[in-house]
Symmetry: C2
Subunit: 377 residues, 2 copies
């Protein structure tokens, strides 16, 4: 016997550089809001996603809220840590292991990093100082070389997501930029300029999951999938991250009983860099191969377009506190499917998709990818 699973409540902290706050304070904001939203005062178990949180960080932040004595499991899966916590919480409710479960994502990066994350020096990329922006920049350079995107189309993703974030009071950054302003911002890793890279962020996000009972504010988990990467190198047919997203999305759509990703009304995807969103929309099958950049430039993926992507502002604008990101995406889609997203609401959204992928282990097409399909009450 298995249960249909629903998101009963979500919450997040503000996102941004908040070195003066600690993880306890950030987690408090997210959990308090999620509990209030779900109308619960306790849960039966907790999964916590974090990448750079120190050992015991989950128990430490939960202790501060009086959440003790129940099973707590900390998971790490690169940028997909938060959505991995969500996937594990979902499985626990689905199988009846626990009735009500908290999935929490936490990360404080401003106190840990001065600049970009560098891969481990046991990997060739790490040894040569090839930080994450450079890995994405290589994908972007290949797109430009092949004519699969133009610099202006890369920039269009940043213009769109920063404009979306104007309507998201929790976002780290927002602004009405032009393509020219994005291209003129400081070069980080050619061809990716500053406004095409996600910022250093602190934040927390949470979701309370339980059995679906048909409640008027319950967002149902229609299906999800989790994968790790397979061998990949720079000579592969697709750029880094394409295949793992494509395959995870296919698994998730099958689990949800959906034939076509075009049926999805609103998406939050992993746009750590502008090229990331372009590759992802193509890998998801939302747009044709090589049309991701053009679709962004045409406004197809903007609010009001055919397939609105990252109405929250995405990682580029909302911020990317690694372990929290996946659950921030879940929170945004939950609000969208409940018609609670205010000025960034996608009208009539019934089906939503969350995609998070991340990694940086040499010769692998990503450490992990999670795709979740959520359905309106």
């Amino acid at each position: 016997m298995t249960n249909a699973v629903a998101v009963h409540g979500v919450g997040t902290s503000h996102f941004g550089r908040q070195p003066e706050r600690d993880l306890v304070a950030l987690a408090w904001d997210a959990v308090h809001e999620a509990f209030t939203d779900a109308g619960v005062e306790e849960v039966d178990a907790v999964w916590v996603g974090t990448v750079f949180g120190p050992p015991g960080v989950a128990q430490r932040v939960l202790r501060a809220m009086g959440i003790t004595g129940i099973p707590v499991i900390t998971v790490e899966n690169a940028c997909a840590s938060g959505t991995t916590a969500f996937a594990e919480a979902h499985e626990a409710v689905r199988t009846g292991r626990y009735e009500r479960v908290l999935a929490l994502g936490i990360e404080q990066m401003s106190t840990a990093f001065d600049g970009a994350i560098t891969p481990e020096d046991t990997d060739p990329e790490g040894r040569t100082g090839l930080a994450l922006p450079a890995l994405y920049a290589m994908a972007a350079a290949r797109y430009l070389h092949l004519g699969a995107a133009t610099p202006e189309q890369l920039a269009a993703v940043s213009v769109k997501n920063h404009a979306h974030a104007l309507h998201n009071p929790r976002a780290q950054y927002s602004g009405r930029y032009t393509v020219e302003e994005v291209l003129a911002s400081r070069m980080i890793a050619d061809p990716l300029t500053l406004l095409q890279c996600c910022p250093t962020s602190d934040g927390a996000a949470a979701a309370v999951l339980g059995p679906a009972t048909g409640g008027s504010r319950e967002v149902r988990v229609r299906g999800l999938a989790l994968r790790s990467g397979v061998p990949w190198n720079h000579a592969s047919p697709h750029v880094w991250g394409h295949d793992i997203v494509r395959d995870t999305a296919a698994d998730a759509l099958a689990a949800a009983g959906l034939a076509d990703v075009a049926d999805v009304d609103v998406l939050e995807v992993h746009d750590a860099f502008t090229i990331g969103e372009i590759v992802t929309t193509e890998a998801l099958g939302l747009v044709k191969p090589g049309d991701g950049g053009a679709a962004a430039a045409r406004g197809d993926t903007a609010l009001g377009g055919a397939h609105p992507v990252n109405p929250s502002g995405g990682l580029l604008s909302r911020g990317h506190p690694l372990g929290a990101t996946g659950l921030a995406q879940i929170a945004e889609i939950t609000w969208q499917l409940r018609d609670e997203a205010g000025a960034r609401q996608v009208e009539g959204a019934r089906l939503g998709l969350v995609e998070t992928m991340g990694g940086g282990v040499s010769v692998l097409d990503g450490n992990a990818c999670v795709v979740v399909l959520l359905e309106a009450p």
Copy 2:
């Protein structure tokens, strides 16, 4: 529908200071042995327990063995990280989520630590420099003060476990020590001397789990439980770690349908410090309150005694690479229940117990505790 779950194979690296080896090499030893032991060449998913492993370490060590493309989830739960990975792998097989799952524990401490692990400085213990040995020393001092143990009884645990380790070629340390020699070794945290403290260790351990099919070498998972700590302070009725072990063991015995821990033939428990084993045998209900030290001194918990504890040598002698420890305990009990433990074999052992607890978050009675009951083929 749920499956009865069995351990199909186990493996470990050598344990000890091995800074010249890396986690890939250590993990290879453990996984290769476990796969060979189980007679399998692949698994459907992997849970990896580690405390200080860097982000992505699981994918990195698995990549080196060609284990890619399947779900991989890294978990952290202090000293119980390895047994938490085991508990999650067990749940996945029990519910039919995956058919065959690898639980892997990895830790390289010699390259990360010069001395004892200090709690986070956001906790009062951490701020005052109260490292883990000091936390255990306070429990030991209280036992001595109350007359619940003598210095000689504390030392007897070390004498016993180091003698057990003489028969374990994978152990970090072993030796025929006298009580006097243990007490005369260098003072680490009064009253705990060097030989009463687990060493800095590197190692890996693994188990392959799958449905129980009645195979002649399958060790069945009879029941298990996982808990996190509840509020505790130094004025509590019991010393740190007692209550969480007691309650987790009660859960595990209930899950296994066992009325009495005395039915267990062989145990591997968390003896990070001598006082830890004494508290644990009492909390498990194996010996009466206040009789843990005397039981060790009498030989009740030695090989040949009524309740052999830590035939492997335990953490004190085998070593304590945090994330690997729980699975090293699982491996030892698996060998014992298959009558494959050589000179340290507990004759006719039919029921075995693994207990791991750990933590160091202020005001909590441990971050986590896992108790597993295993049954002979």
